[in-house]
Every structure is written in C-alpha cells, then in structure tokens.
Symmetry: C2
Subunit: 201 residues, 2 copies
C-alpha cells in the first residue's frame, strides 16, 4: 500500500499517540493524489484500497452492467456504470457498479457524460471479494443509503446470498428464489439464484 499505510490513521490512534505527528488526510487532499490501481476510497476519514478484481467478481460486474443497461438504456431511465468514483457527503467511493437515473447523470456543455460524479448513485452494487472486510463494503452502502441512494446490493459469493440496503438503512438478507429489489422504474425481475447462475458460463 505504501502511501496509503501512512495516511490510514485510525481514530483511536489519533487520540492516544499525542507526541507523534498525525498523518491524517482530508478528502480534498486525498482527491489530489494520483489514482491507484485498484482504486482507493476515502470514507469516515480513512483510506482503503479496493482488492484486485477476480473471476467471479469480474463476471458479476460485467453481467450486471449489461443486464441493467439492456432494460434501462432503451427506455432512457437510468445508466449502469462499472467502477465509477462517486464523491459526496465527505467521502469518495468506487462501487463495483453504480446506477444513476438519467436526469441525475452529470453532463458537460456538449451534452457528453461528465468525468466527475459529485453525487450519490441511485443504486450502488458491491461484490465482496475473498478476504475483503464485509464491514468496510457495508459502510460504503450505508453511506450511500444515508445520503439519498434508493437501493444498495452487497453480493456475497461465499454464501450465495445478496444483502440489500434500503432507505433508512434497513437491510434484507436474500437467497435462493427470493426476488431481488430493483431500482424504481427499471422493469427487471431477478432472483438471487438467477444472479448466481451467471457464474456458470
């Protein structure tokens, strides 16, 4: 991690290590750092680097973008985007898939899609990687939920389950033939089982 190690100072360390120079960082300073690969995120004053994409993860991400856009794009309702940095309410996160309602997509003067998204997604999807902290990913989705995101999905490959996050930080743990909640106005019908069947290629 290199530079990330130095700037990742946890709250309790800040309190106890009074004689050490605190290597904290602001969101503004974080955003000036060069992008890392995989992307790094800044939330609750801490910096985290996302894990490298692996097979299952990559398949989910690609198939989700395709499946959502197949329905949402022709009807001009919304757009699904992979690995898009969203900066809002004191954090900058890069959900595996973000979906923005069409009228909320930032555009430059020419009408083209903007590069910087400084608002919450309408639907955020995260896929848990092996050995990744479930709490850190859930924290991203709760940050979204608190700041206007209608729907969050956390795909849990090891458990064949999907945890969904709704308004008011309400969650559901879904599996098997449970129907998945979809962003309003997108006419898509999926069960958890169907999503996991995408892995059988």
């Amino acid at each position: 991690m290199g530079i990330l190690d130095k700037i990742d100072v946890r709250e309790e360390e800040r309190e106890t290590i009074v004689t050490t120079v605190v290597k904290s960082i602001t969101l503004e300073k974080f955003l000036q750092l060069p992008e890392t690969e995989p992307a790094s995120e800044y939330i609750d004053g801490e910096v985290y680097q996302k894990p490298m994409l692996q097979g299952e993860h990559s398949r989910f991400q690609g198939k989700l973008v395709t499946t959502i856009n197949e329905v949402a794009e022709p009807q001009k309702i919304a757009l699904a985007l992979p690995e898009l940095r969203c900066t809002f309410s004191g954090a900058t996160i890069v959900p595996d898939v973000t979906v923005f309602l069409r009228q909320r997509i930032p555009r430059i003067e020419s009408g083209r899609i903007a590069n910087r998204f400084e608002s919450h997604p309408d639907w955020a999807i995260e896929i848990l990687s092996p050995n990744q902290s479930q709490t850190k990913v859930l924290r991203n989705l709760l940050h979204c939920s608190k700041n206007g995101t209608e729907l969050g999905w956390l795909i849990l490959p090891e458990e064949d389950s999907i945890l969904t996050v709704h308004s008011n930080q309400r969650i559901q743990l879904l599996a098997g033939i449970d129907p998945l909640p979809i962003l309003s106005n997108i006419h898509l019908s999926l069960t958890v089982e169907q999503v996991f069947r995408w892995l059988n290629i």
Copy 2:
C-alpha cells in the same frame, strides 16, 4: 464437523442433486442430536457450528454479561445470559449474549429459571470471531429482529466497530464515541470506544 458436514445441505444442492439421497434435517431432528462443543445452530434449514471462543471474544462476553446485569438485575428489569440456546420461529441459535426482560424469562413451577428457552431474546449480542462468516452471524440477528427482538449488536473486533440491528431490520454501523443503543428501560450508557477499552486489561 463430522455429522454436521453430512446434514449441511444447501438449497441449490437440494435442487440439482436429484439422484442423491438428500441429507436434509428438520429442526425437530436437529434438536434431538447431542449438543456439540462449540454449540451448533440451525437456521434457514442449515446447520452451523460456532467457532471456539478466543481471548477477545471471551472477554467481551464476560464483561457484557457483568455490565448489563450490574444495572438490570438489581432493578429487576432484565437478565443477561451467555451462550443460551434460543429456539423460535423455525430456528435454534446460541447468541454470545442474550438479554431477556424479566417477565419473559421462562420459569419452572418452583420459580427457578427453565432450561429451555423457546422464544426470541429481547436483546441479542454476537461477537464476530476471526474467519467467521459475518453474514451467518448477521443472519442470526436478522432472524431475531424479524421475530420480535428489540435490539441486536454485532461486535466487529477487527474494525473496532459495532453494527446494531433495530426493529424492521434497520442497521447502524457505530464506532468511536458513538453512543450505543441499549435495550429499553436498562439505564446504561456506553460508547463503542468504551466497549473496546474492555480489551485493555
């Protein structure tokens, strides 16, 4: 795990392996099996064995029981119990700490506490062990929440955070000086930081 391996048949296996004898088990049959050490739980048709207690986990469990009972017992409000098996709504789980309001504690004729608790706890506390599935523990707390439990805590030692589960499956992720929600009528005031300071003995 031995016997547990054999009876842990996941939903999708039941569907696809049609020629194999399905080694499924009902809650009733599960309850007739001898207790394991660590305890085993049955939820959503699956059997899980809890991990062995380790230092941090054990300290949290002991200190939570003591702290809650110091306040709740003299006032005859509630009782905190460690590793108590609770069987309700098609599942049997053994939260690390359960708290029952006094009037809801089952008693035998002599007035003594009963051995079998066939109802949801009012407050359930789980402590995530290293390498334990966060989803499985969260599933227990959501099962509680759906069936009348007022409050759930999931202590996340690796993140110095506590995830709280409220009615209607609403969750919060708390850290640092965030005040922790406490079961109604128990006059206790704790922050996440204070709980984690219990580890510095």
